[in-house]
């Protein structure tokens, strides 16, 4: 027990330190923008831009801005345009000539804001098929490597000797695995079939959990808002949807269209309940998508919002900025701890709901009259 307590203390202080540095790159950038605003144009500090720069995907990985130098990692851009075919170049080139390379540029406004567009000769913009390795894709690959290295090394220890007491990262993983096994999968899906779905549930849980945690780490290679991106959550929810649909028992589909427990007038002549039920099938993954996306994004926005307060106040008076910074940091640390909790809870909720949906699809309505 004392070891576990010590580990918790170390972890807590680790994250506390992280949050003292939280969003430092963004701050530096904001500072720079502010400084630049003084000299070039009286541009005000824009909280929305700061936050959206962090929340949204980008074609380069911005690490810090020191003075006027942007320190960022250029990432490969891969696009297929119906007009000019395949293009492959590093995103650093987009800065070279007026933000326009080979007819491609990142739109600053309009429908494709912050996305790569091809500028046609007549001035209209076209969105090409965009397979770019963006910041989020890079983060995805990093997390993939991290997850694989963690679990393959843990699996190796298990394969060597199953009876050995867990050690190191293994003892951190094992209770969570057992928890998902015994408290999520078994009660939700049922004792007979839960083992078939365990690999998916475990993978989903650890993917979300580890990416949530990585999103809380404010510097490279963390700090990308991966699980707060709707494309990512959509794919995860689609996996749940596909698995649920393919494992649905006959009675699951029959009950959806014609539930014998519902009075006839709700089914005929207007098939009210069947419509609601079928909508529910698509609503479930939709809700999964939105919940994870909104929770993680909201956490990032709130944490950054507290930081922005410093600069909003500093615009009025530099002393107000210093004064409010104490409060802001206190709040951000609090938010950071809260987000640590949310990181686990959201991973848990996603896994639990996926398991429940699968369990519902598998259910045999034999006792139903």
């Amino acid at each position: 027990m004392p070891q576990i307590n010590a580990m918790i203390r170390v972890l807590t202080s680790f994250f506390l330190i992280l949050f003292t540095f939280a969003a430092t790159p963004n701050l530096l950038k904001a500072n720079e923008e502010h400084a630049a605003a003084d000299t070039i144009s009286p541009k005000k500090f824009n909280t929305g831009d700061l936050i959206f720069d962090h929340i949204r995907d980008s074609y380069e990985w911005h690490i810090a801005t020191i003075g006027h130098t942007h320190l960022s990692i250029p990432l490969p851009v891969m696009v297929y345009s119906q007009h000019s075919g395949f293009h492959f170049f590093m995103s650093g080139k987009l800065h070279d000539v007026n933000g326009n390379y080979d007819g491609f540029k990142v739109a600053s406004e309009g429908k494709y804001e912050r996305k790569l567009v091809e500028v046609m000769p007549d001035g209209t913009v076209l969105r090409p098929w965009d397979f770019s390795i963006t910041k989020n894709v890079t983060s995805l690959f990093v997390s993939l490597g991290l997850i694989l290295s963690i679990f393959l090394s843990v699996a190796k220890r298990y394969r060597e000797n199953f009876a050995r007491a867990p050690k190191g990262i293994q003892s951190w993983i094992e209770p969570i695995v057992v928890f998902i096994c015994d408290d999520i999968a078994k009660p939700s899906i049922g004792k007979e079939k839960y083992q078939r779905y365990l690999p998916f549930l475990l993978t989903v849980f650890f993917f979300i959990f580890i990416n949530n945690l990585m999103g809380l780490v404010p510097f490279f290679p963390g700090g990308a808002n991966l699980t707060g991106n709707i494309s990512i959550t959509l794919v995860l929810a689609l996996f749940t949807f596909v698995i649920t649909s393919f494992s649905g028992s006959r009675s699951y589909w029959v009950h959806m269209v014609n539930d014998p427990g519902i009075p006839l007038w709700l089914k005929l002549p207007i098939p009210l309940m069947p419509i609601v039920e079928i909508m529910g099938v698509f609503l479930k993954p939709f809700v999964l998508t939105i919940r994870l996306f909104a929770n993680i994004t909201a956490g990032h926005i709130v944490a950054l919002g507290f930081y922005s307060l410093i600069f909003i106040f500093a615009e009025k008076s530099i002393f107000a900025g210093y004064g409010i910074s104490v409060l802001s940091i206190a709040f951000t640390v609090f938010m950071g701890l809260l987000e640590l909790l949310v990181a686990f809870i959201q991973a848990y909720v996603f896994t639990l709901l996926s398991a429940l949906y699968i369990g519902l699809a598998l259910e045999q309505h034999s006792g139903h009259e």
Binding site: L140, L144, I147, L152, Y158, F162, C181, T203, I232, L236
Partner: protein
């Protein structure tokens, strides 16, 4: 609006990455981990069960031992009792036989004594008879030393015979 619209590129990469992750983890991580966990659970359960069994066996053994001990004690008491009884009977029998034997011997002795006495008495009788004859002879010899006496005696006898 861009925030809530899925992006094709990221969607594409995520689909591929997650599929690969799911496959690799399922094949190389979850399989061994889950089977190891269930193996461990089973082995712990078995160990507990066998410990319980051993304990029960111990108890059985102990109670068995006690039973055997009790039985042995009873057996010993029984044997001792039997031995005591046997001893008593043997002694009694011996005593009985001895007394019978003694009686027999006594009777024999008595009979022998009687016989001897009878013999002795008869011998003494014959001796006494002889002595008396001798004595009578001597007396007669002395009394009949002279003829007068003989005559007197004869006369006496004759008188007596006459009287009768």
């Amino acid at each position: 609006m861009g925030l809530v619209m899925p992006d094709f590129g990221l969607f594409f990469w995520m689909l591929i990455s997650f599929s690969i992750l799911l496959y690799i983890l399922k094949r190389f991580a979850w399989g061994p981990i889950l089977s190891a966990l269930s193996d461990r659970e089973r082995s712990i359960e078995e160990a507990l069960k066998s410990a319980e069994n051993a304990k029960e066996e111990m108890l059985n053994l102990q109670s068995g031992n006690e039973k055997i001990l009790k039985k042995a004690i009873l057996e010993r008491e029984k044997i001792v009792k039997e031995a005591r009884e046997l001893k008593e009977t043997i002694i009694n029998e011996a005593r009985h036989e001895a007394s019978i034997e003694a009686n027999k011997v006594m009777e024999h002795a008595k009979a022998a004594i009687d016989r001897e006495r009878a013999a002795a008495v008869s011998e003494i009788k014959s001796l006494i008879a002889n002595f008396s004859v001798d004595i009578a002879e001597k007396i007669l010899k002395e009394k009949l030393a002279d003829d007068s006496r003989q005559k007197e005696l004869i006369q006496n006898y004759i008188d007596q015979i006459n009287l009768n």
